[in-house]
Amino acid sequence: MRSFLLQVIAVTSINLKSIAQRRWLSLSTVIAIALVVVVLLAFLAMANGFQRTIAGSGADDIAIVLRAGSQAEINSTVARDQVRLIEDGPGIARGTDGKPLISPELYLVVDGLKRSTKTKANLPLRGIGEQGAALRKGIAITAGRMFNRGSNEVVVGKALLREFEGFDLGSTVSFGATRWTVVGVFDAGGSVFESEIWADLSVVQSLFNRNNFVQTVRARLVGPAALNGLKSYSDNDPRLKLEVKSEAAYFAEQASQTSDLIQKLGWPLAIAMALGALAGALNTMYSSVAARATEIATLRAIGFGGFSAFVGTLAESLSLAAIGGLLGAAATYLIFDGVTASTLGGNFTQVVFDFKLSPWLIVEGVALALIVGLIGGLFPALRAARLPIVAGLYAN
């Protein structure tokens, strides 16, 4: 057993040392595998970053009320009378003054200019109720102050400020004929709210001519379990019949559509490229076996087993793949991790997000590389193990 192991170790080390003799072919395999991993991980990091930004925005103990079937805040309408009925609904937490902690909101789309491309982009202008900011976790004004109720003032999320022009603190922005002053910038813990513009609900209602309705109502629940009570309250009142969801569930749905799409693009592309790299890996490894035919035959002739030749070839292939996989992961991390991008989200407005690589994604990338290495090494390794000794000795 010991001698068997020593054989395997000896042949493997000969194999690995011989890589240098085929450096260009081996290098092309390493780079091909690295590129496959870069393509896969760039897409997965994009999907992951988008997912984290949106799905991380919702809370379990916040209920969001929308018109049935509307799917997104932008489509929804909730009438004024319905807002009053929701205020009286069960399970809604109340402040020290006894008022229900709810925020009726309007969600409008306004044009902004994207800094990188100078093209028009849809940005959300959210009119929030008195409790609006308090109903979201981790809202902090990082510059300036909160808008005053009843005035034409807005505060902007810091991601929006970074990606789009014209929202610097103190500047005046016009939405059509209306003029607004940017009085503050807020941090929302990396959530989707950082891509929004916030203003006082009543001012947005009157300036945008939407006096009789809002679009959604957010309510703080006494606990996540209170959601069902509010749901059946809405279902049983013919004047309501609205869709009641936890904010967490709402954002999870919003996130999944786009991030699923990105993943559905990334995986097939990466797998197709992996097949191309596999052809390269097979070619490299067959060349390796051909180049070492005499050497393998010599080893066999002096008593080495076929299995050690098999393991040696497979180890060479797997190490090339592992180097390629790690190189690809490192390159993705250096080039893409933390890169900011924005795209249209489920609400038809721009969502700013960062590409985000995670340890699990890196594992997926390296695993794909190793699969290429395994298959790419397996058949050449079988050939190495079965090489007839006599033919091998006369190979050159």
Binding site: W24, L25, L27, S28, T29, I31, A32, L35, V36, V38, V39, A42, R67, A68, G69, S70, Q71, A72, I74, N75, T77, L108, V109, V110, D111, K114, T117, T119, K120, A121, N122, F175, G176, A177, F208, N209, N212, F213, L269, A272, M273, L275, G276, A277, A279, G280, L282, N283, Y286, S287, A341, S342, T343, L344, F348, Q350
Partner: protein, 386 residues
């Protein structure tokens, strides 16, 4: 035996190696074909946009409404040949997941403005105009749901509510609209604005956007400026742009798709360039002696160069052409499911030509260094080696 036979025999001397090269080239060109086809279809709206068509939207954003009175005011502007308008309906069929691209339009003017795109039998258009609660559907939508003229379909809105309550409107299909060319997207349902406006519970007398056709593209700028000036300082200011510019700006909102396509195709090509380039070099090196023999027989350096380049170009074509063919099959298979974002998804003749040019370029690049080495090879060295 002519030179081509020699090239072919050389290429397939190591069958497995040639097959592996062909597979990796095939995959790169398959990726190229699919992504180039997608990008072309995704941006097709820009290329197809008529030069004399303008879009007027609310200056705040194109999702904000405008008063319907703008229709008649724009119509009176000098240089405008025809105007029509549309309103987004937010349609779906039965389940909100079954999105239907639904617009409320003014039938007569709509089909006049889009006459270069859409074909509808005159009697069906008349039926649509006559019956207020009817709708017309595009050919590809009709195919998707199997709807025929005369069918009654319930269309729900994720935005609007009927005055009588409920989110669903029932429409009789009055006609089926065909696209005049392959690239025209016909995955839509059109209903009558007048009926929609009368039955909806809010938003009355407002429209989404105006589409206008100018007398000549030369007038575009002047007409656009006149319209926007006309509504300046009103409660609904406008922004008028060419259809092409509007479509381009909208596509840009999804992100830099061009850059993503370029990077992925680039990565695929760098991969095969390295693999094929190195393998060609290896296989020519293995044949050094033979090249020496050929030269001894009187083959000129230029002829050897041509033969090696011929081999690498042949390899690229053998991999690339089936790759493009597979890409074409993939686009056909995915066309229906991508109809909303990339109508007429296909490997167009232009893409096929670009692909063939790339194959020849790839063949020349991967073959040039081994070919030059082979050309310069001295007989004595060649025969002396190995």
């Amino acid at each position: 035996m002519n030179d081509f036979d020699l090239v072919r025999k050389n290429l397939f001397r190591r069958k497995l190696r040639a097959a592996l090269m062909i597979v990796s080239i095939l995959i790169a060109f398959m990726i190229f074909g699919v992504l180039a086809g997608f990008y072309r279809a995704f941006t097709a709206g820009e290329d197809r946009a008529a030069a004399d068509r303008l879009i007027t939207v609310n200056k705040i954003n194109f999702t904000q409404p405008m008063p319907i009175a703008y229709f008649n005011r724009v119509r009176a502007v000098d240089g405008v040949r025809q105007v029509t308008f549309a309103n987004w309906f937010g349609g779906y069929y039965q389940d909100p997941k079954n999105f239907l691209m639904t617009l409320a339009v003014e039938p007569a003017t709509y089909f006049d403005v889009y006459r270069s795109e859409f074909d509808i039998p005159p009697e069906q258009l008349q039926a649509f105009i006559r019956d207020r609660s009817s709708a017309v559907i595009g050919e590809s939508l009709a195919r998707k749901w199997g709807w025929k003229v005369g069918d009654r379909v319930p269309v729900a809105s994720n935005i609007f509510t009927q005055r009588s309550g409920g989110h669903t409107w029932d429409f009789t299909i009055a006609g089926i609209v065909k696209g005049k060319t392959e690239q025209v997207d016909t995955n839509f349902l059109l209903l009558q604005y007048a009926y929609f406006d009368e039955t909806r519970s809010f938003g009355k007398d407002t429209i989404g956007w105006l589409i206008l056709q100018t007398n000549s593209p030369e007038n575009n700028d002047r007409v656009a400026k006149t319209i926007d000036a006309m509504f300046a300082n009103s409660t609904a200011e406008t922004s008028t742009d060419t259809e092409k510019a509007f479509g381009k700006a909208f596509a840009a909102q999804f992100g830099n798709i061009a850059l993503i396509v370029f990077l992925v195709v680039g990565a695929a090509f760098v991969t095969i360039l390295m693999i094929v380039g190195n393998t060609m070099a290896l296989s020519i090196r293995e044949r050094t002696r033979e090249i020496g023999v050929l030269k001894t027989l009187g083959f000129s350096g230029a002829r050897i160069l041509r033969m090696v380049l011929g081999e690498s170009v042949l390899l690229a074509l053998l991999g690339g052409l089936p790759g493009l063919a597979i890409a074409a099959l993939i686009t056909i298979a995915l066309r229906a499911s991508l109809a909303n974002i990339a109508p007429a998804f296909a490997v167009s003749p232009v893409i096929a030509l670009e692909g063939i040019a790339l194959m020849i370029a790839l063949g020349l690049i991967t073959g040039i260094i081994p070919a030059l080495n082979a050309m310069r090879l001295k007989i004595a060295t060649a025969l002396g080696r190995g």
